[in-house]
């Protein structure tokens, strides 16, 4: 635990929530994020790195300024703010103005972490809170998808918008995400480009294969509860298969649903946040199934093309209820 000052801390059980997060775990997660980040760089150019760096800077600055623990800055050493920043950066579009990414990092750490007393206490995933804040605050900027394959050193003009001002769209070309194309034009994208990431979308979400490999690595090192991603992907696949069988013309096939949008990234890196997901194995299954169900509901029947972020946040909100419902009964009560 990061609390190195030997203050006497009196609290009530469960004590287990402490000790679940260590710099070691964070380094493993960061290591797993590196290939995802590299793929984002390959696909979207320098913008990918800059947006991620801005989001991370926002996270670090907010934690340094507002974390109540002293001496100032000690809480940064556990690297969790860096993980949050990278995750937030990876779910933003490539042409996103850097000042907004910085602000999103502030919202993520401010609302998602510092407010609750720091690491290990947040009921919601901080990176997703930051993303949800940005989605509600700047709905236009966050759904402007720039095309990819423009070279390793390409930079989008909108990245460099001055703080509080709009980015002037120099590269007016936009590339709709596969999900948006599904929603608004009923076009299904082929599986191969989805799997290797040859599509429009947020920085880190396009390359499905790399995310899956990173997830396998983390699961093998027992960094997270494998039940959560497995149940999310399984429930999404099963539910969308049912709908696809009912009306194949209106509802997309299950593999498209699994590989498109942020589902893989969310299932592997966001939903598995050990603090904001249930503590019991049975709870993990329920949590994952809930996320999958909500994703299918929002994607197929909602007003927005993508719903992974909201699905995970909503299940985060339901986590205390799930914990309570799946708590092992004490004999005789």
């Amino acid at each position: 635990m990061s609390r190195q000052t030997p203050d006497l801390v009196l609290s009530t059980p469960p004590f287990l929530r402490q000790g679940q997060t260590t710099p070691w775990i964070m380094r493993q997660v960061l290591g797993a994020l590196v290939p995802v980040l590299v793929m984002a760089w390959v696909h979207f150019g320098l913008s990918a790195l800059l947006v991620t760096a801005a989001a991370t800077a926002g996270c670090l600055a907010t934690e340094w300024l507002f974390d109540p623990r002293r001496p100032r800055g000690r809480s940064l050493r556990d690297l969790s703010a860096v993980v949050t920043g990278c995750l937030l950066g990876l779910v933003l579009p490539p042409g996103f103005p850097l000042w907004m990414a910085f602000l999103g990092g502030g919202a993520a750490i401010g609302m998602g972490k510092v407010l609750w007393g720091g690491l290990g206490q947040n009921p919601f995933n901080p990176a997703l809170l930051g993303r949800a804040f940005l989605q509600a605050a700047f709905p236009a900027a966050i759904t402007t998808w720039s095309p990819q394959g423009t070279g390793l050193f390409s930079l989008h003009g909108t990245n460099l918008a001055l703080p509080f001002l709009q980015g002037t769209p120099v590269d007016a070309m936009s590339a709709a995400t596969p999900l948006a194309r599904m929603k608004f034009q009923s076009q299904v994208t082929d599986l191969f480009p989805l799997a290797v990431g040859d599509v429009g979308g947020s920085l880190g979400e396009t390359c499905g294969v790399v995310i899956l490999l990173a997830g396998l690595y983390l699961a093998a090192r027992r960094i997270f509860d494998w039940r959560i991603p497995v149940s999310i992907l399984a429930s999404t696949a099963v539910l969308s298969a049912v709908f696809h069988l009912i009306d194949g013309a209106r509802f997309p096939p299950p593999l498209f649903m699994v590989f498109s949008g942020g589902l893989l990234l969310g299932a592997v890196f966001m939903a598995t946040d050990p603090v904001s997901s249930p503590i019991t194995p049975r709870g993990s299954w329920i949590f994952g199934a809930g996320v999958g169900g909500l994703v299918v509901l929002i994607r197929l029947f909602g007003g927005m093309p993508e719903g992974v972020m909201y699905a995970i946040l909503l299940m985060n909100a339901a986590t205390p209820l799930i914990n309570r419902a799946t708590q092992p009964r004490i004999y005789g009560t």
Binding site: W116, Q121, P123, G303, T319
Partner: protein, 194 residues
Amino acid sequence: MGDLIWIFVAAMLVNNFTLAYFLGLCPFLGVSGRLDTALRLGLANIFVMVITSSCAWLLNTFVLPHAPYLRLIAFIIVVASTVQFVEMVIRKMSPALFRALGIFLPLITTNCAILGLALFQTNRGYDFLEGLVFALGAGGGLTLALVVMAGLREETRVLDIPKVVQGMALYMILAGILSMAFMGFAGLFSSGGS
């Protein structure tokens, strides 16, 4: 049928009374400390809302066309007295149900969610069945918000949250986060319904 489903989903999730319309905030912030209390309050709310919706429909159809300026006063008085009457009936018929829900009934009647329900129903011109479905959806949404909030608040008790944040500021920000998460339901079923 599609319309009814849409009214229900819209009232419960898309335009959740508490998280999108800010109605019923007093119980949402005040009585969400314990999960079982929150659940019972929510159920009592559904119950009163169904009564309110029926009363409002009766008033709108038979009485108020003759005196529209009495709408507000009529709603409040009729709803309050009907709920009082039902409370007495429940107390006689089923003491168990009364113990579970009854104590909340007088509290609820002067709640903005109840009056809001009647007013929205009137403004949107719902017929009797639509009004009932609207009441069930709105009450269900209120219960959902209350229960989720109570779960989170029970959880926060075991955290050492900074002292500056504790109390109303935390609940308000928590409500904001929930409201943000509920934005994911925007536009749900809207293409299938109206």
